[in-house]
């Protein structure tokens, strides 16, 4: 008996083959992503220290974390970290892509193709560096007598306490994140720009449109899907960021850069409060999912 009967429609046959080919990846996803997510939720309902049996406590961990000023402070710090770094990364990566895109902008370009290729590599390079190396570099740059002090001492003889003042330390972390990821998302935008047909720009030129009008009426609307992708990916990566903040500031000074991932790590692996850490992870997941769905809906409705 053939696997797909002749009586089935081509669409049905297509669907069945689709499921078959997706099955291995789906199985891996279920085992290594979906199951741990479910398990995290169950752990969040228990008191658990990794070494002794779990004790079911219902929603006790959720009540405890929403009553904990450290968790609420961590949520606020994470929100600043994610929103500021994402908005600036998005703007810079789009700006760099526009600058380097000679074909898609349909007109004069700042850099020629040879220099453009070289610059693309330069901007993309930070993405390829190990996260721990990035963090150590960040610490060296922002420490009291580091590179930033040397640069700013031209204007100000007082050292700026980049890593000793909470707001400045968070700015330093955000700067490092932008430096590390802007080149990566620039590549997304470059791909998006190169998919915009040149004819649109030619017609706009014939109509006498300015650069701004071309950007507002052609480039930006046609880059919406890319922007959605960049926005969602950038936000998810930012909220999951751990290695660089952990090594660079360790959540300090005075907890001023203790983003959610660091708080979860501390609770899980330093204080062995796995249940509480799991509850924080579930809340983080819920927040992220909500924000992502809002973004998708917003972009779809505009589209």
């Amino acid at each position: 008996m053939p696997i797909l009967r002749k009586s089935t429609s081509p669409l049905q046959r297509h669907n069945v083959w689709g499921v078959i080919f997706v099955a291995p990846a789906l199985t891996i996803f279920a085992v290594f992503a979906f199951y741990p997510m479910l398990e995290t939720f169950f752990v969040s309902l228990t008191r658990y220290d990794l070494l002794t049996p779990r004790e079911y406590i219902g929603i006790g961990n959720y009540i405890r974390i929403f009553d904990d000023p450290n968790f609420l402070s961590s949520l606020r710090i994470s929100a600043v970290y994610v929103v500021v770094s994402t908005v600036i990364t998005l703007a810079i990566s789009l700006g760099l892509a526009l600058l380097l895109n000679s074909a898609g902008s349909g007109g004069a370009t700042v850099v020629g193709s040879g220099a453009g290729g070289w610059l693309r590599t330069v901007y993309f390079f930070p993405t390829t560096i190990s996260l721990v190396v990035v963090a150590i570099l960040g610490r060296m740059v922002f420490q009291p007598r580091g590179l930033m002090f040397a640069v700013t001492s031209v204007f100000n003889s007082q050292p700026i306490p980049w890593l000793n003042e909470a707001a400045l330390a968070l700015s330093a972390l955000i700067s490092v994140r932008i430096w590390r990821t802007a080149g990566y998302f620039m590549v997304f935008y470059l791909a998006g720009l190169q998919n915009i047909p040149r004819t649109y720009y030619e017609v706009a030129d014939m109509d006498g449109a300015s650069h701004w009008q071309r950007f507002r009426s052609i480039t930006w609307p046609l880059l919406k899907p890319t922007t959605l992708l960049v926005l969602v990916t950038c936000m998810i990566n930012a909220i999951r960021d751990f290695a660089v903040p952990h090594v660079m500031t360790g959540g300090g000074p005075a907890g001023g850069t203790r983003i959610l991932s660091i708080l979860i790590y501390e609770n899980a692996f330093q204080f062995l409060r796995m249940g509480r850490a799991a509850a924080m992870s579930v809340v983080m997941f819920a927040v992220l999912m909500t924000v992502t769905l809002i973004q998708i809906r917003f972009f779809r409705s505009e589209h």
Binding site: M1, V31, L51, T52, N70, S157, N164, G252, Q270
Partner: protein
Amino acid sequence: MKRFVQLCGVVAFTILILSPLAFAGGSRETVSENRLVFWKHHHEPADRFLENIIADFQAENPDVEIVVESIPHGEYITKLLTSIAGGEGPDLFDLGDTDVPGFMARNIMAPIDYAALGFPSQAAFEAEWLPTTLDSFTDAQGRRYGYPIEYNSWQLVINTEHFREAGLDPERDYPRTWEDVVRIGRALTRYDDSGNITRSGFILPFPHHSGWYLFNFEPHLLQRGGLILNEEMTESFVNSPEGVAVAQYWHDLVYTHRITHPDAASASADANQDFGEGRASMWITGPWAVPVLQNYGVPFKVVSLPQHDPANPVHITSSWAWFVNRSSRNQELAWRFIEFASKYQEEWLTEVGYILPRIGWFESEAAQTLDGLDVFLDGMSYGRPRVRTLNYAEVANVMQRHLQRVVLQGVSPEQAMNDAKVEIDRVVRD
């Protein structure tokens, strides 16, 4: 039939993809009867010296393999606990006294095997050690678990060159009280043309591990009659007048007396580096740091920890011991190795700066070569152990954050200690 074969193909393909992962999880390395895995916190001189001991042990026991993993201090406990939880823990590991209650409560360590160590009884073993030095590694039933390898009292180190440069005699003019630290610290502090501190007269552990905060804070608190926690470990007293006074003292060092500043400290992983490289003239540390400071080449002298009331000195002690994993299949071999390694008492001191608190060797010629040994030993005689709670890591984390608010942000010490008390109370009652 063809459909069945195709389905089988897909299932087989899926299994093929997953099988390496499944086998990876199931194929734990075979445990050899003669292989010891030893984890320790990183301390360069100890790591180097341990290689020699292992070579000697293996020369006597050629069939034994010992694998040492030295892990940075900040990550050590996390790695150790998660590894043990995953069933992959080492046979042998070292552990500080503050982490012992948590490990004991989770039944991780094996009790000492006196026979394997070569002692006829527990009493015979206990007779070998200075009184109280085994207490931190003993449970409520009197069972001993840890073999002390490092016993510390925390004292002041002073840069003798800086003292002479400031017209002070390091042999005579070193500080006896915390007020002296301020007075002498002012003479030792150096500023640039803009008034920024280029050399701290006395330095606090600004960017370092939370444990360093308590090493500096707790002895001063005890000297004033304060406590971190009550005896039952159920309530914090850090916002007592004594706790606030110590936090105020730290605040004033930075903002009133200006003898140190966070921006004058490096963000190095080595807490001794600022003193070692001459950016600080006075610093509190333990005997294990003596070889580290000697490596830096800094001219220094160990003097007694400043006191609140010199007539009634109070010092703080800390200790590390070696433990055998209860799940290890090589426990007897592990204890044999421990006993072998501990015979190098004098070398542990001279090469590494570890004081093994076994009786009868402090007067030896080799023991006298450690700078400041008399000061460290004297401190031990007035020593009190650090606060012992199941939640030490969390308590230290809270204290670090709130003391950082005081010294980095200028927050009122009273406010910071009140906030710390609220947090610590929640931690210990959870």
